[in-house]
């Protein structure tokens, strides 16, 4: 157990003693003593299941620990009460965007409280509400012109909602601001904004708890990094000691093996082709993808990454152009046409778009092949169970039983199960949208292996991701998108972060109409 050694002059914002929590036999959190100081960004890293969520839960009141005490600004919290936590100044920005889609931006920003300028206790002061919401947006660098505070929140894209969520928590002037993987849905530019924001609050004397899965981000923003493993605090590091290798070692308990360099694709046959493909906010785009190839799609938030993936999947209607799969023309009218043709999409949002969380693992992994499992249209439990076991074993889902709800698995295991389901339907083309969002380091490596395996089995893989390192790691080629078009296409060996970032962030499209068809790559120093 590491306890901070140096004497700190800074005020303590939050203090935990003997906080522990178990689910059944498993002790998921056990913190004998932890201080979070004002004026600092405290980074928290750990694998999924390491206790990060439970730590956040106990601080924000959504989890009732079995014992221990928590003080915020010297005042003891009523444990397990979100009201108490909010009242004493714990602000939480969670991954789940707890916004009310049906309400306006302004009402969401001031959810659960009254505008400061308003004297009314019972009646809503909409004018004051809107004014304060607009001020809150400006405070975090968002423009109330671009995001009118009267807009319904559900009409806004996901990254914008994340920014709103941060603005909302920030506007409450929290004593302790908890950011739970706040950049996981954001592109690099927006992520920078959020990191800057975390820094700024700390510099103003606030205490920030920054939970991250991207180690470079956590290292860049934190004054101190604590590492959780199996519910215990295993390291408390100063930024200079917290190298990536050290952090990973502390997280997983051993050094992660480095992946081998990717083998060259030789003699691959063309699999998927899109010519002047257009859709709302997309294109025209040309793509040429080979069997066994992993083609990455990079780009900033709103660059059309997801739109491209969704258009190919048939989830967003194409407005022009042609597509073909294995030489056969392909023009989907919906995702069902995509799956029928052998194209499977693994969407960005596991919980909303992929899984029935309360249903057992068994039915979640077999849902895409039920027709094949049925005998003359009748499904027998025996065959379904056998198939579910085969599928989960194939992708190494760690679980107690195929009958436990899939929601009880860690994020990485859920994602593996989804991959298993996708493989089970034997697709030709696999579409991935942010395949490792909200997944920890160890599980990430395993998902990369699965992607690798899919390619080796002869599938084409089109993967959109906001994490450049990830694309550099797994892809044969990377297409860079900007304003709905592909502005650069980079071979693996030529790919550098700088080159991709430059193309992605460029205001003028560098190569107008550049297509992603295989060609001798343009060298650029």
């Amino acid at each position: 157990m590491t306890v901070p050694v140096e004497a700190h002059s800074r005020a303590v914002s939050a203090r935990l003693w003997g906080v522990h929590k178990s689910y059944g036999q498993v002790r998921v959190l056990d913190i004998p003593h932890l201080e979070i100081r004002a004026g600092e960004v405290t980074g928290v890293v750990g694998e999924n299941g390491a206790g990060k969520s439970t730590l956040i839960g106990t601080l924000s009141g959504s989890v009732l620990p079995e014992g221990g005490e928590i003080e915020i600004g010297g005042v003891p919290l009523t444990l397990g009460s979100t009201e108490s936590a909010a009242h004493h100044g714990v602000g939480l920005v969670s991954q789940e965007f707890p916004l009310v889609g049906q309400l306006s931006v302004a009402e969401n920003m001031l959810l659960g409280r009254r505008p400061r300028a308003s004297r009314r206790r019972v009646l809503v002061d909409r004018r004051a509400q809107r004014a304060e919401a607009a001020a809150m947006l400006e405070e975090v660098g968002l423009s109330p012109i671009e995001i009118p505070v009267t807009r319904q929140v559900r009409s806004l894209p996901v990254p914008t909602r994340q920014m709103l969520e941060i603005a909302k928590a920030w506007g409450r002037e929290p004593t302790l601001l908890i950011l739970d993987e706040p950049t996981s849905s954001l592109g690099p530019v927006e992520a920078q904004m959020v990191l800057g924001l975390a820094r700024e609050l700390a510099d103003r004397g606030g205490a920030v708890l920054f939970i991250g899965h991207r180690l470079d981000e956590v290292r860049a923003v934190s004054d101190r990094i604590i590492v959780l493993r199996n519910g215990s605090l295993v390291a408390d590091l100063q930024p200079e000691e917290a190298t990536e290798a050290r952090l990973i070692r502390e997280m997983v308990g051993s050094e992660l093996a480095r992946a081998k360099p990717k083998e060259k694709l030789v003699g691959a046959r063309p699999l998927f082709r899109a010519e002047s493909l257009t859709a709302e906010g997309l294109g025209p785009v040309d793509i040429d993808l080979h069997a066994g190839e992993v083609l990455g799609v990079a780009g900033l938030m709103g660059s059309g990454r997801s739109r491209l993936i969704h258009t190919v999947a048939g989830a967003q209607p194409a407005t022009g152009g042609r597509m073909s799969l294995a030489g056969v023309p392909y023009s989907p009218h919906g995702p069902a046409d995509g799956t029928a043709a052998g194209i499977v999409l693994i969407p960005e949002d596991r919980k909303q778009q992929s899984l029935v969380l309360f249903a057992p693992i068994r039915s979640n992994v077999t849902v895409s092949i039920l027709r094949r499992l049925s005998v003359r249209g009748v499904l027998t439990p025996k065959r379904e169970r056998a198939a579910a076991k085969r599928i989960t074993a194939n992708v190494n889902v760690r679980m107690q039983s195929i009958d436990q709800p899939i929601g009880s698995l860690s994020g990485g295991n859920q994602q593996r199960a989804i991959f298993g389901r996708a493989f089970a339907s034997e697709p030709k083309l696999l579409l991935l949208d942010e395949p490792t969002r909200g997944v920890d380091v160890g599980a990430k490596a395993e998902i990369y292996e699965l992607i690798d395996r899919a390619a080796k089995d002869g599938m084409g893989v089109l993967v959109a991701s906001s994490e450049l390192e990830e694309l550099l790691w797994i892809c044969h080629r990377i297409a860079v998108m900007n304003h709905g078009r592909i502005v650069d296409i980079v071979e693996r060996e030529d790919a550098t972060k700088e080159r991709i970032m430059k193309a992605a962030a460029g205001t003028e499209s560098r190569l107008p109409g550049t297509s992603a068809t295989r060609r001798t790559s343009r060298m650029e120093s």
């Binding site: 924000s60 959504s62 979100t82 009201e83 909010a86 009242h87 939480l92 969670s94 789940e96 707890p98 916004l99 009310v100 889609g101 049906q102 309400l103 306006s104 302004a106 009402e107 969401n108 959810l111 659960g112 409280r113 009254r114 019972v122 009646l123 809503v124 909409r126 004018r127 809107r130 004014a131 607009a134 109330p144 012109i145 009118p148 505070v149 009267t150 807009r151 319904q152 559900r154 009409s155 806004l156 894209p157 996901v158």
Partner: protein, 341 residues
């Protein structure tokens, strides 16, 4: 709320240029447009076809009918907004009438006292629903279905199946009282609608009800007392059911357990949904819900005025509802107010 301009100084006040065209567009883009338009069209169409339809006498009949489904619909809508459902309102209204009559006739209490006791009892039933739903996490469908069954049974048990006669004349005086030509029950409906609108649109309690129904987790994390807001809705629904029950026995001048409200809860739910309330919660406004109740009443009364065979009435009612909902979906698509990125 999304049609207003905001207080940022940079934005030109669009409200300065309120021409007839922009007003019309705003109306068309509002979620209530479909049901309000349907009300007007149905009224005009039936009025032209059946001259008795628009006579004062018939309008008064409709006003009294409307009080029944309209008030129930508003209570039901409050519960639906929290993401719940209250199946008990019809049976509870029936029981409330029996209770009020029983306290008045069998216990000899003065009518106002009997009415107040009935309101309190039904409010307590609502409180019970709210507590069971929020504390024990019993699905609202289930617990209110229990109350539905028990209420119907109680009404029969109390009366042993025979109507309670010679209730205080005060009941029928309330139900038949008119201000000008407008029946008092219709005014009670209007007052209920205005109060509900005010609470939902203008008070924090009301806005928080929308938040609870829209995203209970978000509401909880924001420190909104989710349980209290939910319970409020069930209590209001219970009390409003009692109001309807009292109005009904006044109208009949007898408390008849065989009249008691079965099927009314479905009419109330239909009115709320036609008026734009989403059964998933968090969505729907009182104007639409009131208009939904009015539309249902206009149609069911209109079918009588048109002398449609009683055997065909339900088919016509269903068809008209279907068309109204279809038209509203088409409108929503045209104006894109519901699209999610």
């Amino acid at each position: 709320m999304n049609t207003q301009t905001i207080a940022t100084p940079q934005q030109a006040p669009a409200s300065d240029r309120l021409t007839a065209a922009t007003l019309l567009r705003k109306f068309a883009a509002s979620p209530e447009a479909g049901v309000v338009t349907a009300c007007v069209l149905v009224f005009i169409a039936i009025g032209l076809a059946a001259p008795t339809y628009t006579k004062v006498g018939n309008l008064q009949v409709m006003g009294r009918d409307l009080a029944q489904i309209g008030i129930l619909a508003i209570g039901e809508a409050l519960v639906i907004l929290t993401g719940g459902i209250d199946l008990s309102v019809g049976a509870l209204a029936g029981l409330a009438g029996i209770l009020a009559a029983w306290f008045n006739v069998r216990e000899g209490l003065p009518a106002p006292v009997a009415i107040v006791i009935t309101l309190v009892i039904c409010g307590a039933v609502g409180l019970w629903h709210g507590l069971i739903v929020t504390r024990l996490r019993v699905p609202p469908f289930v617990i209110t279905l229990v109350t539905f069954t028990v209420s119907e049974g109680l009404a029969l048990a109390i009366t042993t199946g025979t109507p309670i006669n010679s209730i205080s004349p005060l009941f029928s005086r309330v139900s038949s009282f008119r201000i000008g030509d407008v029946p008092l029950p219709a005014l009670i409906f209007v007052a209920t609608a205005i109060v509900a609108w005010f609470i939902l649109e203008r008070t924090y309690v009301g806005r928080q009800i929308y938040a609870v129904g829209g995203n209970a987790e978000a509401a909880r994390l924001a420190g909104i007392p989710v349980a209290r807001r939910t319970i409020f809705a069930y209590v209001a629904s219970g009390v409003l059911a009692a109001v309807v029950g009292v109005l009904v026995i006044g109208r009949m001048n007898v408390a008849d357990p065989s009249v008691g409200g079965s099927g009314w809860e479905l009419t109330a739910i239909a009115a709320a949904v036609v008026g734009g309330a989403a059964l998933t919660g968090g969505e729907g406004r009182i104007l639409g819900i009131a208009a939904g109740a009015i539309l249902l009443e206009l149609i069911s009364n209109g079918l009588l005025a048109l002398r449609v065979s009683p055997y065909d009435q339900q088919i016509v009612q269903g068809a008209v509802l279907g068309i109204a909902i279809l038209a509203d979906r088409l409108r929503a698509r045209r104006f894109g107010s519901r699209q999610v990125a």
